[in-house]
């Protein structure tokens, strides 16, 4: 009899603990007062985390109830979350977003920011989502070589790689060989046929290390992430415009896109330049400062 009671007690404890934990975890955020409450989602890419916090601080200052959900995952997690109304706002990149919305294939409209924004809006409007004006901060894929290689072979542009590519190994994210903005585009647009491809990471530490120790001779990095400067790499100029107009843009649900929100975000985006975001990235990736702190310090520095 005791055993029976004990087992039932055990079960009861398990269920109660479970429900209690679930309840604390699932309590929804406090309801908004007068201004709409805004959930900002960020990918686990540090640059987007910085910009999310900048947007969040600006909106909070204006009296909005803001939640910044950090590191939700990749774009494949964050954009569907926005389309389904699970978040209200996310910083993204005009051309890459457009390509994503078209099943991963880069669109012609993405080549220029003037055509990219309307195209993004068209693709998103059926979800009740739109895109505000672009910031001044550009972050595209760049293909980098070491300074030694650049000097030896007189490399400045992607075109200048042509005579050497067949002896070089290209490094990049695993999807690069089938992605139009990566190896496919380098072949089609520039006629570059590499000796091989090495799957690494999305412009992260593996990519940097592989170029440094000579495992690859060309690697895909991001133009604004500071690794090119910090490691004295040479980013080759995209002289035939393979990469799109990847300016940082606020992607927002129409339900929270009030004139005040648009004015605030457009105002801060006008100050967010490529030079500025590159420095903020360096603070996070090299000096190991937190994205939240970096965002606050920058807002102070631009007297916001």
């Amino acid at each position: 009899m005791y055993q029976m009671i004990r087992i039932r007690v055990l079960l009861a404890i398990a269920v109660v603990a479970m429900v209690a934990a679930a309840a604390t975890a699932l309590t929804p955020a406090a309801a908004a007062k007068s201004k709409p409450s805004i959930i900002i989602g960020s990918t686990n890419f540090e640059e987007q985390a910085i910009v999310s916090n900048i947007y969040g601080d600006v909106l909070k200052r204006a009296g909005f109830h803001v939640t910044v959900e950090p590191a939700l995952g990749t774009r494949a997690i964050v954009v569907p979350a926005l389309e389904k109304g699970q978040i209200d706002l996310e910083p993204d990149y005009a051309a890459s977003l457009l390509a994503f919305l078209h099943g991963g294939n880069p669109e012609k409209a993405g080549d220029n920011i003037k055509t990219a924004i309307p195209a993004d809006r068209r693709a998103l409007s059926r979800y009740g989502v739109t895109v505000l004006k672009a910031s001044e901060a550009l972050d595209t894929n760049v293909f980098a070589v070491t300074q030694a290689t650049a000097r030896k072979d007189h490399l400045t542009t992607l075109s200048s790689l042509k005579p050497y590519a067949s002896k070089m190994i290209l490094g990049g994210p695993p999807e690069c060989p089938t992605y139009a903005g990566c190896e496919v585009g380098l072949e089609k647009v520039y006629g570059l046929h590499f000796a091989g491809f090495k799957p690494l990471d999305e412009a992260g530490p593996l990519s940097v290390a592989a170029l440094k120790n000579g495992e690859v001779q060309v690697v895909e990095l991001f133009s604004s992430d500071g690794n090119v400067v910090a490691n004295h790499f040479e980013a080759l100029t995209d002289n035939k415009h393979l990469e799109g107009a990847d300016y940082i843009v606020p992607v927002i649900r129409k339900s929270v896109d009030t004139p005040e929100v648009a004015r605030l975000l457009n105002g801060i985006d006008a100050k967010l330049t490529t030079v500025a975001i590159s420095k903020l990235n360096l603070d996070v990736t090299q000096k190991k400062e937190q994205p939240t702190a970096v965002a606050k310090a920058w807002l102070r520095s631009v007297h916001y």
Binding site: E175, Y179, P199, E202
Partner: protein
């Protein structure tokens, strides 16, 4: 239905069956990594389990510690090794993945080996000694064969976990079947991601079945009925 037909199309597309990103090569690389991990895990976990079980000293502590080490996040070890300049990218990312996943394989093998050794009847040991076997003889000719079914059960558990987790190796630059999963997730290509997962599932099933059969073959005939044919957690070794 359209998803299933796209999945079928992915698997029947000839381009996915050849070259450096093809299914045969990536399947082979996943298998190579998993085998290397399980082999090293057997050497470490099995070896420690034999020694601890034979001497009977410090065993419970080791087994309890081994259980806590099941909580080692493979992602942490993988990424930590991947950002060490001396290890990252060695042998195409193989070294970092090999070390990190071995930590996953050791606990179940160690626990099961130890339990198998302790389950050997004291009378059998005494009989072996009475027949003039030295300590080494008792270990290799009596205890180890009797513990073998347990070792194999632990090996099987470890192998299934290692195969499923080998997908994470692609996250740190070792291209294997996990590459399909990660590339698929990065580009919102669900078909590719699911195909990769299916292939990993097939490999796990193959590995599980072959180790099950091997374990049965290696078990002395009289022990077969009672031996653990498929034990993930083993006997209540920790209780």
């Amino acid at each position: 239905m359209s998803f299933l037909s796209r999945l079928l199309h992915w698997f029947t597309n000839a381009a996915n069956w050849s070259g450096s990103g093809g299914i045969p090569l990536l399947f082979e690389r996943s298998l190579e990594l998993s085998l290397a991990v399980v082999a090293l895990g057997l050497l470490i976990g099995g070896g420690l389990g034999l020694i601890l079980g034979h001497t009977g000293r410090g065993g419970l502590v080791a087994v309890n510690a081994a259980n806590a080490f099941r909580a080692v996040p493979s992602l942490a070890l993988l990424t930590l090794l991947a950002i060490q300049p001396a290890i990252s990218l060695k042998w195409d990312g193989f070294l970092a993945s090999w070390i990190a996943l071995t930590a996953l394989a050791v606990p179940p093998i160690l626990t099961n080996t130890y339990v198998g050794m302790r389950e050997v009847d004291a009378d059998v040991r005494d009989a072996a000694k009475a027949m003039g076997l030295r300590a080494n003889g008792v270990l290799w000719r009596v205890e180890a064969p009797l513990a073998l079914p347990f070792v194999m059960a632990g090996l099987r558990t470890a192998a299934i976990e290692v195969v499923a987790t080998s997908t994470l190796a692609a996250y740190v630059g070792y291209s294997d079947l996990g590459t399909y999963v990660i590339a698929g997730l990065d580009t919102q290509n669900t078909v590719e991601a699911v195909s990769g997962a299916l292939l990993v599932g097939v490999m796990a099933a193959l590995v599980s079945v072959s180790l099950g059969v091997l374990g049965r073959l290696l078990t002395p005939r009289p022990l077969r009925a009672g031996g653990p044919v498929f034990s993930l957690a083993g006997r209540p070794a920790l209780g």
